[in-house]
């Protein structure tokens, strides 16, 4: 989204019917905007002068340098107030959001320097223009309206008219007041609209900054995927080095006990305990496989996919032809797409066979899981696939399902081969 596409509704009112403009809230809003602008600008001017003055005077005491160094922060503070004021003219939607950099931090990006520039402009010029225009417009309209009354006591001079009595002033008031109202409304509204547009341009992040933020977001999402992977590997290792090892040691101990315990009920119990321990170990191996498969780390995607395929109750044709191994995040995403995809085939598809194909196409990894089941599959909430979509999204990849009723179903993953940061 660029600033140009987000114009304020005030401009369309300015270009429309003058009566509608005068009757709309815009002149009043503009008046409020300009009045507050004049006050804030004046206060800013005083703030700049005091800061610079005190800073220059105390420079020999070193502290002055710090005070002068705080000028950008003063600019940022004024920008914070100005951003609050902008919705008055722009509406909530079009107004820029708060700055990324809090005002107490020394600004480093271009946006913060533009904000300082705007603050200086406001303090030196804009507030004076605002004050002058408001005073002239308000005075003209009020005096026109009250001219019959004022002319009763004194001569009223309006532009090139001299009004000496109420009788003279009455027709003037009847004609000049509406004209003054309309003209005044235009002047106030156009000035306020122009100033608020200027403020928005100077106080909004620019396109390149938005792009930088998008890049930053992308990087942090990849970091998140990395952290997720690292965490799974850590859990797998903890299980391997911890509980799994103790369970193996336990089966060894029970095996030795079987040799020493005399035949009888005691031995039967030891044997039963041994079988239970073995069953627990087998279960644990399944859990560990689900957390992070060892084969994937050691031997890569082809071997890991074949292992998942072997566990399927139906025949699965595996065709993985990759000359080199993709980065670990891509490999892991592909593996979990296959294991999740095949789990869905086994659960829902009533398929007789399935096939997995993985190959490199240019700078992408393309992986397709297909089955000859009854189709009708969707990537919905609550399926393991929706989590994988998010994960692939972070890598810049996609996951699509084509599954017409009656089948066949095809789950297709495409991911960039390289993970750019």
């Amino acid at each position: 989204m660029t600033s140009a596409t987000r114009t304020s509704p005030v401009w369309s009112v300015v270009g429309g019917n003058p009566v509608r403009l005068v009757l709309s809230p815009w002149p009043w809003r503009s008046l409020a905007y300009l009045l507050t602008g004049a006050v804030i600008g004046l206060v800013s001017l005083v703030g700049f002068f005091v800061t610079i003055g005190v800073g220059v005077v105390t420079t020999p005491l070193i502290i002055g340098l710090f005070i002068l160094g705080a000028l950008p922060k003063l600019g940022a503070m004024i920008a914070v107030v100005e951003r609050r004021r902008l919705p008055l003219m722009l509406g909530e939607a079009a107004a820029p959001g708060p700055s990324e950099t809090p005002w107490w931090r020394t600004p480093r990006d271009a946006a913060s320097w533009r904000a300082l520039g705007y603050a200086v402009l406001l303090a030196l010029i804009l507030w004076a223009v605002d004050a002058l225009v408001v005073v002239v417009v308000v005075t003209t309209v009020v005096v026109s309206l009250l001219s019959p009354l004022l002319a009763h006591y004194d001569t009223v001079g309006m532009l090139w008219w001299q009004l000496d009595s109420t009788r003279e002033a009455l027709p003037f008031a009847i004609i000049a007041t509406p004209v003054g109202l309309v003209l005044g409304s235009y002047v106030l509204t156009v000035l306020a609209a122009a100033q608020s547009s200027l403020a928005r341009i100077l106080l909004s992040p620019r396109e390149e900054e938005l792009e930088a933020r998008v890049t930053e977001l992308r990087r942090s999402r990849i970091d998140l995927v990395d952290a997720f992977e690292t965490e799974r590997k850590r859990i797998e290792r903890d299980l391997h080095d911890g509980v799994q090892q103790r369970m193996v040691a336990l089966t060894m101990l029970l095996g030795r006990a079987e040799l020493d315990v005399p035949e009888g009920e005691g031995l039967a119990l030891v044997r039963q305990a041994h079988s239970e321990a073995e069953a627990a170990l087998a279960d644990l191996r399944e859990v560990v496989r689900g957390v992070h498969p060892r084969v994937l780390t050691d031997l890569g995607l082809g071997a890991a996919i074949r292992e998942v395929a072997d566990r399927m109750p139906i025949p699965v044709r595996v065709d993985v032809s990759l000359d080199e191994r993709p980065p670990a995040q891509v490999e892991a995403a592909a593996y979990f797409v296959v294991s999740e995809g095949l789990a869905n085939v086994a659960k829902h598809a009533e398929a007789r066979s399935a096939a997995i194909q993985a190959r490199r196409a240019g700078d992408s990894l393309v992986l397709v899981v297909s089955d000859d089941g009854h189709g009708g599959a969707v990537v919905g909430e609550g399926t393991g696939l929706s989590g994988l979509v998010t994960r692939l999204d972070a890598l810049g990849g996609t996951l699509t399902v084509t599954s017409p009723a009656g089948g066949p179903t095809e789950l297709r993953m495409e991911s960039p081969w390289h993970v750019d940061r």
Partner: protein, 219 residues
Amino acid sequence: MARRPLRIVLAEDSALLREGLIGILERAGHEVVASATDPDELVAAVRADRPDVVITDVRMPPGHSDEGLRAAAAIREEQPALPILVLSQYVADAYLPVLMDSTGTAGIGYLLKDRVGRVADFLVSLDQVVEGQTVVDPEVVRQLLARRSDDGPLAALTAREREVLALMAEGRTNGSIAAALFVSDAAVRKHVGSIFAKLDLGDDHDRRVSAVLTYLRGQ
């Protein structure tokens, strides 16, 4: 029967499991002449102590990946006549090529660590490896069979023949297969002959485990 006591070099980085293994091996009358905790120590111990057999864990420092397996393959290159039994908390047929495609002539074994607890079976497997045979974990055989389930010649086997094939692939003797399936030795011999014919495995029954595994791996 293998020579006793066997002189064994053991590589296992977990003290808990090392003690458990040493306990079982020494109770069986074997001698653990050296125990290593990483691949370098293992290779050094094999060179220094000239053991009868090596028992090694797959996952070892520094990478906690498949260092033990790689070390076993390296040792086999260096000493083709040294039998090696590889143990793991997790087995997969994908690791077989690392072990079986090396040039060694001596016995080789690849078992889940859980099997050690079945002490009698484990000691038989160890003896078989020392005698030059190949012993493969039933879990690996199951994976291999699942891989080849849609294959033509395999589909021609009877259910009983498939059971015999699986036990053969594990490295079991005819006697052991007969005991496991509650049939006579003669019946097992008949099944084995039939399997060899149907799968066209030739007639070198001395190296039948390798022949069966090679067939199952699709090579």
